[in-house]
């Protein structure tokens, strides 16, 4: 997809308007996965606005967001960065062969106490 289309796709899937951002950085400040991310929540906001979607799609950061909604709740401008990250992740995994988690890999990841909730959530987040 061309860059312009990618940006439109992400904006459409997320329903987010990144232009509302006033760059306070609170989203990244409150993110529990901040120090495990190459691109942080505030960077998702301005990179999507700039149309720089491909680097985001190629980054493992999209699998670090837990959709805990801390950034959404605490954003003073209601920008909702987590929805942008979700949209970038979906733009990747909706492509053929791009599932991040494959069913065959799951048995090796389990222990006897692992709740079903973890599996269904991970499959929904990581695979199509």
């Amino acid at each position: 997809m061309e860059q312009k289309n990618l940006k439109e796709t992400v904006l459409r899937i997320s329903g987010v308007n990144p232009r509302k951002c006033m760059k306070c950085g609170k989203c990244s400040g409150t993110c529990p996965s901040y120090d495990e991310m190459e691109f942080h929540p505030h960077q998702f906001v301005y990179m999507v606005e700039n149309g720089e979607i491909e680097p985001l799609m190629a980054s493992k950061s999209i699998y670090r967001c837990l959709t805990c909604f801390a950034c959404v709740e605490r954003c003073p401008r209601q920008v909702e960065p987590a929805k942008l990250i979700e949209a970038v992740r979906l733009t990747v995994i909706r492509q053929q062969g791009q599932n991040h988690l494959k069913p065959d890999a799951i048995p090796a990841l389990l222990d006897e106490d692992m709740p079903q909730q973890a599996l269904v959530t991970a499959m929904r987040k990581y695979a199509k």
Binding site: E86, L109, M114, Q117, A118, V120
Partner: protein, 258 residues
């Protein structure tokens, strides 16, 4: 009082105690929980994307069953509660999602978010009352210092969940006090435990979960309670030494049930 009851996948399997003790405690409090017939898994997490419709339908079916039975639907699992409440909000307030979901389901009468979704704790607070629960306590948990772990799913997004103040919640602390114990308020009680990263990165979960339990320990807690099977798993496996229990286990104990 009669409510529809949605257990969810994990309460039927790895979290049987969460389910069993919730049912027995409810019975003791004079509440009848009628299981939603032929319920399906909610999917574990709310599909955030605007264009996800099919992934919301199992939640819509549960909500329609509650509407049909004309009573609120109660959940115990934080994740099910989060999914059902947010999908219900979409059906009520997002005309595009609501219209498309109703077309998928070929509903003659469209479902428009009429059902009421309650977490078990909300049911205790708003329909029973913590004061009445305190009266029913036969074995008060006197001297115990208990920390409530909310995590993310019960509280956020605050406007949709309308569960409690998302930054300074008190509902579980009030519940703990009603059972006669002391409630410990500590940092990270409403931050994420690491959730499904448990599958691929234990170190990451360890960082998040140990921050929670270290906070509870520093506050002097002797145990931590949660409503979420995945939070319980992460805190127990990766958090630290403090015992982590379901909130229904405390209620069961304080009501003197065996």
């Amino acid at each position: 009082m009669v409510f529809s009851y949605y257990p969810g996948c994990t309460l039927r399997t790895k979290a049987k105690e969460l389910d069993r003790k919730a049912r027995l405690a409810a019975k003791e409090l004079g509440i009848e929980l009628c299981e939603v017939p032929e319920w399906q898994c909610c999917g574990g997490c709310y599909p955030v994307a605007k264009d996800e419709i099919a992934t919301k339908l199992s939640a819509v079916r549960t909500l329609m069953a509650a509407k049909e039975a004309d009573r609120p639907v109660v959940t115990v699992c934080s994740a099910c509660h989060n999914v059902l409440k947010r999908v219900n909000d979409d059906m009520k307030n997002d005309p595009v999602i609501s219209d498309r979901a109703n077309r998928y389901l070929q509903n003659e009468v469209p479902y428009q978010g009429e059902a009421e979704v309650l977490h078990f704790l909300e049911m205790l607070r708003d329909k029973v009352g913590f004061d009445r629960i305190a009266e029913k306590v036969t074995k008060p948990l006197t001297g115990r210092k208990i920390a409530a772990y909310y995590g993310c799913l019960l509280l956020r997004p605050g406007k949709v969940m309308a569960f409690d103040d998302p930054e300074n919640p008190t509902i579980i602390e009030d519940f703990i006090r009603a059972l006669g114990a002391e409630a410990v308020v500590y940092p990270y009680r409403n931050e994420c435990c690491g959730a499904y990263l448990a599958l691929e990165d234990r170190d990451s979960v360890k960082k998040k979960s140990s921050a929670v339990l270290n906070g509870a320990k520093a506050g002097g807690a002797d145990s931590v309670i949660t409503a979420c099977p995945l939070c319980l798993y992460n805190l127990q496996k990766c958090g630290g030494e403090i015992p982590v229990l379901y909130f229904t286990e405390l209620l069961f104990e304080a009501l003197g049930l065996e």
